[in-house]
């Protein structure tokens, strides 16, 4: 597989009260088109990653809606898989090109979350969980707190280890003008932040965010960055049915498939954007993706290996979901934008020197959906 990325852009992420989803996708899409030196009529299909437009905004039919706004009366659809909606939209776009039905397609990811009360948003997000979890009053921080406890018990992972993920990702975000939180945090600040779901504290959690991202994929060679693998796997929706709670099986299955498709090993990844909805999720991702042995990721992160300037792989140069922000449907698309920028060498102050192969890891719900992409510079 070799699918060219012709252009890629995100809006600023944050609390964007004055901007509509339409406005956000226009900015992202037009910047991606400019970068690709393409006109709207070059686009033959539009794939939209979004989770909450229906439940929060009573806005369905996003595919046709955005296609009209962008002047593209072409095939268009919304793809949804909870917080993995963006990654699934990229996967759909990859299939569209590989199928031969379309030559050039646009992937949009968007979410507008901060116009609603956080309690309402949290309730809607639990639409990604099971009936039993909802009935029991579980929240996503609560579900990830259970996984954190299991990881702590089995591998001796500490609250400080998790806090280090936040420190690293806030540092990266401080170099990213598009990030929601552009301020660094200290270990002490994370450790002293209020408890959300013990052992997870406020600064262990990704925020509620508005934002959009756009990527143009094409069969034709436009520049030197390509998607060379795209894989998806699913697992049980609820935690109670899983074999093990110290990692995500869907991530292991999807990433193994992706490595095989790309013909590479995890050791060859220079830079990755991973789904750190909570700090424990980044620790688990490091292990499930094969970057570090099971139980050894926390130490590697604490030692600085995954931070800019470390021995690598360098993780979440954008700031990740944690500090760049997590506009749900946009996240999986934004991850592709960041890795594209890294491989193109246009990532600015957060550039990983000489990065040639990158990976994105997008997760839905508490791990029922996993989407992994691998990108390579020619």
């Amino acid at each position: 597989m070799k699918i060219n990325i012709a252009g890629a852009a995100t809006t600023k992420f944050g609390e964007l009260w004055r901007r509509s989803p339409r406005d956000l996708i226009k900015e992202a899409a037009n910047n991606a088109l400019d970068q690709a030196k393409m006109k709207p009529f070059a686009v033959e299909a539009v794939f939209v990653g979004n989770m909450l437009s229906s439940s929060l905004g009573n806005q369905d039919h996003l595919g046709a809606f955005f296609a009209e706004e962008l002047g593209m009366p072409v095939a268009a659809m919304k793809i949804e898989g909870a917080c993995a909606s963006g990654g699934l939209a990229v996967h759909s776009a990859v299939m569209a090109i590989q199928s031969g039905l379309y030559e050039t397609v646009l992937v949009l990811g968007v979410e507008k979350m901060t116009d609603h009360k956080p309690e309402e948003v949290a309730q809607m997000l639990m639409g990604a969980g099971t009936d039993a979890e909802r009935e029991a009053g579980a929240t996503f921080p609560g579900l990830y707190a259970i996984m954190a406890r299991c990881h702590m018990q089995k591998y001796g992972t500490t609250e400080e280890d998790m806090a280090q993920v936040a420190v690293k990702n806030h540092y990266h975000a401080s170099l990213n003008s598009h990030a929601q939180f552009v301020f660094p945090v200290t270990l002490e600040k994370v450790m002293k932040s209020p408890k959300v779901a013990d052992p997870l504290k406020l600064l262990d959690c990704s925020p509620i965010t508005d934002g959009a991202a756009a990527v143009i994929l094409t069969k034709i060679k436009n520049n030197e960055v390509n998607i060379i693998a795209s894989a998806v796997a699913t697992d049980t929706l609820g935690l109670s049915e899983r074999e093990d709670l110290t990692g995500l099986k869907a991530v292991r299955v999807a990433s193994q498939k992706a490595y095989q498709m790309a013909g590479i090993s995890p050791k060859e990844i220079d830079v990755a954007e991973v789904h750190d909805c909570f700090t424990i999720a980044e620790i688990m991702a490091m292990e499930d993706l094969g970057f570090f042995e099971k139980g050894k990721a926390a130490r590697a992160i604490t030692s600085g290996k995954t931070k800019l300037g470390g021995s690598g792989p360098i993780i979440n140069t954008s700031g990740g979901l944690k500090a760049c922000g997590h506009p749900v449907g946009a996240t999986g698309v934004k991850q592709i934008v960041e890795i594209y920028n890294q491989l193109k060498g246009i990532a600015g102050r957060k550039q990983v020197e000489g990065a040639k192969i990158g990976l994105t890891h997008n997760v839905g719900g508490s791990g029922a959906t996993a989407v992994v992409h691998i990108l390579k510079k020619d």
Copy 2:
């Protein structure tokens, strides 16, 4: 393009208060698997067509949810494009197979609508319209009533012409044990039914329905029915921006693309399932799909050409959305099931003798999305 349909099934359509979406998709999927003589592990990806699970049920993450229920821990996602969600899910599945990434995939369509107040459902359905339409208090019957008026003015179409569509489709549904309305209606009964949005009356409108449908697509030859074309087009979301209101441009564009892909002309279609959300929509579809000249479809329908036993093409043998029912996300998938049954020769009392080529036509909103598939018997 030649994608084999290995199995296809629907549940009974209707007010199924005792059944959950999970229960409905299991019945449809297991029947489709039985027909294909396949075990769940043969399925490599799952595509779910659904519109309202999020806004009406706070159930997102349907892809992973259903994949788990069916024992398929594979790639899974929900596809949404208002009332065209089912057709778009089939289009996605077609791309999945054509891409070479998957060999055998399952398409599910499902909607559970009757557990909610009709007013609430009607409001949620307007999520497919524009902000202006919603703010103006427009409903879908109202939007189609505008199109009906335009068609009446320009082509002399009458209320009786529209009523004849209902009479035909109720007759077909009376031969279909899975239909929501298994009773025939007379022209008089339709004409005397209460006005919903003048000139559309109650019996000009499709109902609110629960139901599910499943189709298994595969690269491997399993039997003699294949999808030979799959095309999608979009138009403006709102009516006010369209060039003409006596037909749907997206349908003309998508169907022309599909005929070209299949290498056939509209004259070769023996049987078709079209999106008759309102009776006027079937009249417009006959013209937009090229079955009859513009302005001449009403006469053809009234003369019985499109009714079982007519000279053809025979339209909506299932009873259509009008009488078989319209569980939104299931509709586009159910259309494939009906045409599959017709081409296999297993459509029972509603069989079109010798049917070799069939078409499905699925529309989103008031016509912003159109999906056309062509099926052929080897």
